[in-house]
C-alpha cells in the first residue's frame, strides 16, 4: 500500500484540520489572516505538487486509488481553484456572520474530496469522494444562514443532490452486481462480456445520472441557476469550477477508463445530451437579469460544451476538455471575483448594479468584460482556444457519424446566442454611467493580485496554449481509447 501517493490530499486535510483548530484560539480581528493562511497553504501545496512527477500510473489501496498524469493535472487544477476561492472567501468574509474559520475548513475538505475524486479508480471511492464534495457543498451553500436565499439554495441542492446520490448508489449496485467488482480495472476487464447486459447498462446510466447532476447536464441541470444564485459567491465559484471539474474527471474516468466500449456505443446519447444542454443553458440565460443566475445558466451551457468533448469519445476530445476547464477556471473565477467585490457594495447581483462599473473601477470592469468575452469564446482569450479544440474534436468524429455535424451546428447556435447575453453584460459595464450615489470601488492588494493572475491565465492560455495543450494531451493518455 503506497499511502504516500495521497500526500497532497493528506496535506490539504491536515491544513483543514489545522485551520479548524487554530480558529478556536484565534482572536476575532485576525480572522482575515486565517483565510490568507489557508490560501497560502493551498498555494504551497500547489507548488509542492510540481515536485511530484508521475511517469506512469501508480496505484494505492488495492488499485482503488490511482496517481497518474490525469489525476495530477486535476489535483493541481483543484488546488489552484481552491487557492483562488479561499482568497475570494477572505474578501467575502464580512458577509458571513459566523464561522468564517469553518468556512475555510469546509472549503479545504471539499477540496480534498475533489482531489480524491481525481484519483478515484473504484466506484466506491468515487461515491465516497463525491459525497464528501457534495456534503461539504450542502454546508457551503447554506452558509449564510441568515439569508433565506442561501438556505433555500442549500435545501434545493441537498434534495436534488441526495436524489442524484441515490441513483448513483443504485447504479453502483447494479454495476457491482453485474461486473462483480467496483474497480475500474476489473470492470474494464469484464466489460467485453457484460457490456451487452442491460442491467450493467442500467447501472452505468444511473451512475451517469449522478455525475450528470454534478456537472449540471441536461436533464439534471435544474438546480444550477437557483443554487448559483443563492449561494455565497465563493461557494458559487467553487461550485462552478471545482464541483463541475470533479464531475467531469469522474465522468471521463468512468467512461473512458472503465467502459470505453459502452462510451463509443452511446455516442448518440452523449450527442443529444450535450446538444440539449448547450441549448438549454444558453436559451435560458438570454432573458436573465441576475448575474449570478446568468452564470448559473451559462455554467449549464458550458457543461454542454464540455460534454462535446466527451461526446467525441476521443483523445482529442478529452484533452480539449482538460484545456477548456483550465480556461474556464480562470475565467469563471475572475468573473466571480468581480461579482463578489461588487456585491460587497450593493447586496444585489442584478445586472443593473453593474452599471457604470467602468467608472467605479476600471480594473473590475475590464476583468468582468474579459471574463465574459472569454466565456463567449472569443480570441485571444482562453475560452476561444478551448472551444476551438472541442469543436475540432467533434468535427473530427463527424466522418464516422453525421450526428456530430448536427452537434456542431447546435454548438454554434449556442455560441451565437451566448454572445448576446455575454455582451449584454459587457454593455452594461461599459455603456452606462454609474448612478450618482455609487462611489468607486477599492480593490485590496491580494485580490488585485488574484485578478491579475486570472487575466494572465486567460491570456496565457489563449495566446500560448502550447504548454497547456501538451499537458492535457499527456494527461489523457491514461484513457483506454
Amino acid at each position: 500500500m503506497n499511502v504516500s501517493l495521497t500526500i497532497l490530499e493528506l496535506a490539504v486535510v491536515s491544513l483543514g484540520i489545522a485551520i479548524l483548530l487554530v480558529d478556536l484560539w484565534l482572536p476575532e480581528q485576525h480572522r482575515r489572516l486565517l483565510g490568507y493562511t489557508a490560501a497560502a497553504g493551498v498555494g504551497l501545496i500547489l507548488v509542492a505538487s510540481f515536485l511530484i512527477s508521475v511517469p506512469s500510473a501508480e496505484y494505492a489501496f488495492g488499485k482503488m486509488y490511482v496517481m497518474d498524469p490525469l489525476a495530477l493535472f486535476f489535483k493541481r487544477f483543484f488546488l489552484l481553484a481552491g487557492a483562488i476561492v479561499l482568497l475570494l472567501s477572505v474578501e467575502f468574509s464580512d458577509r458571513i456572520e459566523t464561522g468564517i474559520g469553518e468556512y475555510y475548513t469546509i472549503i479545504l475538505f471539499a477540496l480534498s474530496g475533489m482531489m480524491f475524486a481525481a484519483s478515484a479508480n473504484d466506484l466506491i471511492l468515487v461515491f465516497v469522494a463525491l459525497e464528501l464534495i457534495t456534503v461539504a457543498f450542502y454546508v457551503l451553500t447554506s452558509f449564510q444562514r441568515n439569508n433565506i436565499k442561501s438556505l433555500e439554495a442549500g435545501v434545493k441542492y441537498l434534495i436534488l443532490g441526495a436524489l442524484a446520490s441515490a441513483f448513483m448508489v443504485y447504479g453502483i449496485a447494479l454495476i457491482f452486481g453485474t461486473a462483480n467488482s467496483t474497480k475500474f480495472g476489473d470492470i474494464l476487464a469484464v466489460a467485453g462480456s457484460v457490456s451487452s447486459n442491460p442491467l450493467f447498462l442500467l447501472g452505468i446510466l444511473f451512475v451517469l445520472v449522478g455525475l450528470g447532476f454534478k456537472i449540471a447536464a441536461f436533464p439534471f441541470q435544474m438546480w444550477a441557476p437557483d443554487v448559483y444564485q443563492g449561494s455565497p459567491t465563493p461557494t458559487t465559484a467553487l461550485l462552478a469550477v471545482g464541483s463541475k471539474a470533479a464531475g467531469i474527471v469522474l465522468l471521463l474516468r468512468i467512461l473512458f477508463s472503465a467502459v470505453p466500449q459502452i462510451a463509443s456505443q452511446w455516442t448518440s446519447l452523449l450527442i443529444v445530451i450535450s446538444g440539449v444542454t448547450i441549448l438549454y443553458g444558453n436559451l435560458c440565460a438570454l432573458p436573465q437579469r441576475s448575474l449570478k443566475r446568468l452564470l448559473g445558466y451559462s455554467s449549464i451551457a458550458h457543461a454542454g460544451y464540455l460534454l462535446l468533448g466527451v461526446a467525441a469519445v476521443s483523445m482529442a476530445g478529452s484533452s480539449a476538455i482538460l484545456y477548456y476547464l483550465l480556461g474556464y477556471l480562470f475565467t469563471v473565477l475572475a468573473a466571480f471575483t468581480v461579482i463578489c467585490i461588487v456585491m460587497r457594495e450593493v447586496d444585489n447581483d442584478d445586472i443593473s448594479s453593474f452599471e457604470g462599473l467602468h467608472a467605479r473601477s476600471p480594473l473590475l470592469a475590464a476583468t468582468l468584460s474579459l471574463a465574459m468575452i472569454s466565456l463567449a469564446g472569443i480570441p485571444p482569450l482562453a475560452g476561444f482556444f478551448g472551444k476551438f479544440l472541442l469543436l475540432k474534436a467533434v468535427i473530427e468524429q463527424g466522418a464516422n457519424e453525421p450526428g456530430y455535424y448536427c452537434l456542431v451546428i447546435v454548438a454554434l447556435v449556442g455560441v451565437v446566442i451566448s454572445l448576446y447575453y455575454y455582451l449584454g453584460v459587457v454593455r452594461t459595464v461599459y455603456w452606462t454611467n454609474p448612478s450618482p450615489g455609487q462611489a468607486s470601488i477599492l480593490v485590496s492588494t491580494p485580490v488585485r493580485f488574484m485578478i491579475y493572475a486570472c487575466i494572465v491565465g486567460m491570456l496565457y492560455l489563449g495566446l500560448l496554449p502550447n504548454a497547456a495543450v501538451n499537458l492535457a494531451i499527456r494527461a489523457v493518455q491514461v484513457f483506454h481509447l
Partner: protein, 525 residues
C-alpha cells in the same frame, strides 16, 4: 528562427502601441493619440517597404516567419506575403493610418478607444498576413471584438445598440461557420497542419474527396459570405456602419470585411476546386443580389451613411463576381476590387464621419447644398462618390472592369446585369447623394460648417484619395504583383474544371448568351 520578419514588425507595432497606451495614464490624451498615430505610421511605412520590395516573380511567399505555436495539432505562427495579400496589407496599413488620423473626433475615453483601435488594426493586419489557417481566423476574431465594442461605445445614432447586436451576431455566425469549415478542412486533409501553404500543396497533389469538398465548401462560402455581407446575409452591414464610429467603419468596411473574400480566394478555391466549380454558380447569382438588390436599396436610402453602407454591400458583389468567375482575370479583378473598395470605403466613411460631426445628421432630406461652405471636403466627397460609381481614374474602375472581363465568359447574363448595376444603378444613387447633399441651394440651419483646413486634418482624406488615384492611374503597380499568385489559384481551379464535366458548362454558356441576346433590348429601355 533567428531573424524576425518585417511582417512581424508590421503586426507588432499596433499591438505594442496598444500596450503602451494601456500603460499610459488616461489623462495623457495627446500622448495616447501620438502613440496611436506613430504606431500606425510605422506599420504603414513597413507595409510600403514590403510592397516595394515584394518580388512578384517569386511564387513562394516572402518575408516569411514561421514559429511553431501549438505543436500537437500543427498550428504555427506563420506570416508572409505573396501576391494575394501584399496589396491588401498595404491597403490595410493605409486605411489604418487614416483611421488613426480621423479618430480625433473621439471625445470620451480616449484610452480605451485607442487601445481597441490598435488591437483592431493589429488583428486586421495579422489576418491578412497569416499563412496559417488558425492564425488567419484568430486575428480576424481578434479584430472583430474591438469592432463590436467600439460600435457600442462610441457609435452614433439611436439604434446603435441594436446595430451592435446585429453586427455581432451576424459576424459571429459567419465567423463560426467559417471556423467549422476551416477545422473540417484541416481534419479532412489529414489533421496534421494548419499551414496554408503546406495544405494547398498537399491538397493539389491529392485532392479531397468530392463529398468532403461539397461538405466543407458551402460552410466556407457562406461563412465567409456572411462576413462579406453576401446577399441575403447583408442586413447587418449598412446598419452597423451607420452606427459605427468613423474609424471603426473605415477599418471594418474597408479592410476587415475583405477577410471573407480573401479567405475564399486564399483557402476555399485553391483547396477545394471541384466544389468551387459547382458552387460558383450559386455565388454568381447571389452576387447579383448584392449588386442589384442592394443597389436598389441604396437608391431608397434617406441617410447618407445607410446609402454608403448599402453601396459598400453592393460593391462586394463585384468582388464575388470576380471570384465566381474562377479565372485569372476574375480573381485578379476581385483582389483589385477589394483593394480599391477598401480605400474607397474608408474614404467615404471618413468623409461621412466628418460631415456627421458637423451636421449631426446625415439625412439627405435635411442637409443640402453643402459644397460652397466646405469646398475641400465637398470636393473630395464628390470625387469619392464618383469613384464609387466606377469612374475611370480611380482604382475601383480598374477592378470592376477587370471583374467584368473575367466573368463575361462564364456568366454573360450575370455580368450584363452587373454592368447595369455598376454603371447605371451605382450612378443613380451616387449622383443622387451628390445632388442632394452637395449641389443645389443650401439648406437653412447648416450654414456654420467648417472645412478641413488644417493640413493634418486633410491628410487622411488626401492619403486615401491619392492612393485611389494612384492605383487607378497605374493599376499595374498592383496587378503585376497579384497576377502570379492569382494565376496559381486560377490554375488550381482550372485543373478541377477539366476533370469535371465540360459539356454542361458550355451548354450553360450558350443558353446564357441566348438569354442576353434577348434581354439586351429590354434592358436598354
Amino acid at each position: 528562427m533567428s531573424h524576425i520578419s518585417t511582417i512581424t514588425f508590421l503586426l507588432l507595432w499596433p499591438f505594442l502601441g496598444a500596450i503602451v497606451i494601456a500603460l499610459l495614464p488616461r489623462d495623457f490624451r495627446l500622448a495616447i493619440r501620438a502613440v496611436a498615430l506613430a504606431s500606425t505610421l510605422f506599420s504603414l511605412l513597413l507595409a510600403i517597404k514590403v510592397f516595394l520590395q515584394f518580388d512578384a516573380s517569386l511564387l513562394a511567399p516572402q518575408f516569411v516567419q514561421k514559429v511553431l505555436w501549438v505543436e500537437a495539432i500543427g498550428i504555427s505562427y506563420h506570416v508572409g506575403v505573396d501576391g494575394l495579400n501584399v496589396g491588401l496589407i498595404l491597403m490595410g496599413a493605409i486605411v489604418a493610418f487614416a483611421a488613426a488620423c480621423v479618430s480625433s473626433e473621439i471625445e470620451t475615453r480616449h484610452k480605451e478607444y485607442y487601445f481597441l483601435l490598435l488591437v483592431m488594426i493589429g488583428g486586421i493586419l495579422g489576418a491578412f498576413a497569416s499563412l496559417d489557417l488558425f492564425f488567419f481566423y484568430f486575428f480576424h476574431e481578434l479584430a472583430l471584438i474591438p469592432t463590436f465594442i467600439m460600435i457600442g461605445l462610441w457609435g452614433k445614432g439611436e439604434n446603435r445598440i441594436y446595430a451592435t447586436y446585429k453586427i455581432t451576431i451576424y459576424l459571429s455566425i459567419g465567423a463560426l461557420l467559417a471556423l467549422i469549415g476551416l477545422i473540417a478542412l484541416y481534419l479532412h486533409a489529414g489533421g496534421t497542419t494548419f499551414d496554408m501553404i503546406a495544405l494547398t500543396k498537399q491538397l493539389s497533389d491529392s485532392p479531397l474527396a468530392p463529398e468532403s469538398q461539397h461538405l466543407i465548401f458551402p460552410l466556407l462560402l457562406f461563412g465567409f459570405g456572411i462576413l462579406v455581407s453576401l446577399w441575403p446575409f447583408h442586413t447587418w452591414a449598412p446598419l452597423g456602419y451607420a452606427a459605427a464610429p468613423t474609424a471603426t467603419a473605415m477599418l471594418h468596411a474597408g479592410v476587415l470585411k475583405k477577410f471573407g473574400l480573401y479567405g475564399l480566394i486564399r483557402i476555399a478555391i485553391p483547396m477545394m476546386p471541384e466544389a468551387a466549380h459547382s458552387w460558383m454558380h450559386v455565388l454568381a447569382f447571389l452576387c447579383l443580389g448584392n449588386i442589384l438588390f442592394c443597389g436598389f436599396v441604396a437608391m431608397r436610402q434617406k441617410d447618407l451613411l445607410l446609402l454608403i453602407g448599402n453601396s459598400s454591400v453592393a460593391h462586394m458583389g463585384f468582388a464575388f463576381l470576380g471570384i465566381a468567375s474562377l479565372n485569372l482575370i476574375g480573381i485578379t479583378g476581385a483582389i483589385l476590387v477589394m483593394i480599391a473598395h477598401g480605400l474607397l470605403a474608408a474614404l467615404t466613411f471618413a468623409l461621412a464621419g466628418y460631415l456627421y460631426r458637423q451636421t449631426h445628421t446625415l439625412r439627405m432630406d435635411q442637409i443640402k447644398g453643402l459644397l460652397p461652405q466646405i469646398p475641400f471636403v465637398g470636393t473630395v466627397s464628390i470625387m469619392a462618390l464618383l469613384a464609387g460609381c466606377g469612374l475611370p481614374g480611380f482604382a475601383n474602375f480598374v477592378g470592376e472592369v477587370t471583374v467584368f472581363f473575367g466573368a463575361w465568359k462564364q456568366y454573360p447574363f450575370v455580368t450584363a446585369l452587373s454592368v447595369w448595376g455598376a454603371l447605371v444603378i451605382g450612378g443613380v444613387y451616387m449622383l443622387r447623394a451628390i445632388r442632394t447633399i452637395f449641389h443645389g441651394p443650401a439648406n437653412e440651419g447648416f450654414n456654420k460648417m467648417t472645412d478641413a483646413v488644417n493640413p493634418l486634418t486633410r491628410l487622411p482624406y488626401l492619403l486615401l484619395l491619392g492612393s485611389l488615384l494612384c492605383f487607378g492611374f497605374f493599376p499595374r503597380l498592383l496587378s503585376d504583383k497579384i497576377k502570379p499568385a492569382a494565376d496559381a489559384v486560377a490554375k488550381l481551379a482550372a485543373v478541377a474544371r477539366e476533370s469535371s464535366q465540360p459539356i454542361e458548362s458550355t451548354e450553360a454558356t450558350v443558353t446564357a448568351s441566348s438569354k442576353i441576346a434577348s434581354s439586351v433590348p429590354t434592358s436598354k429601355q
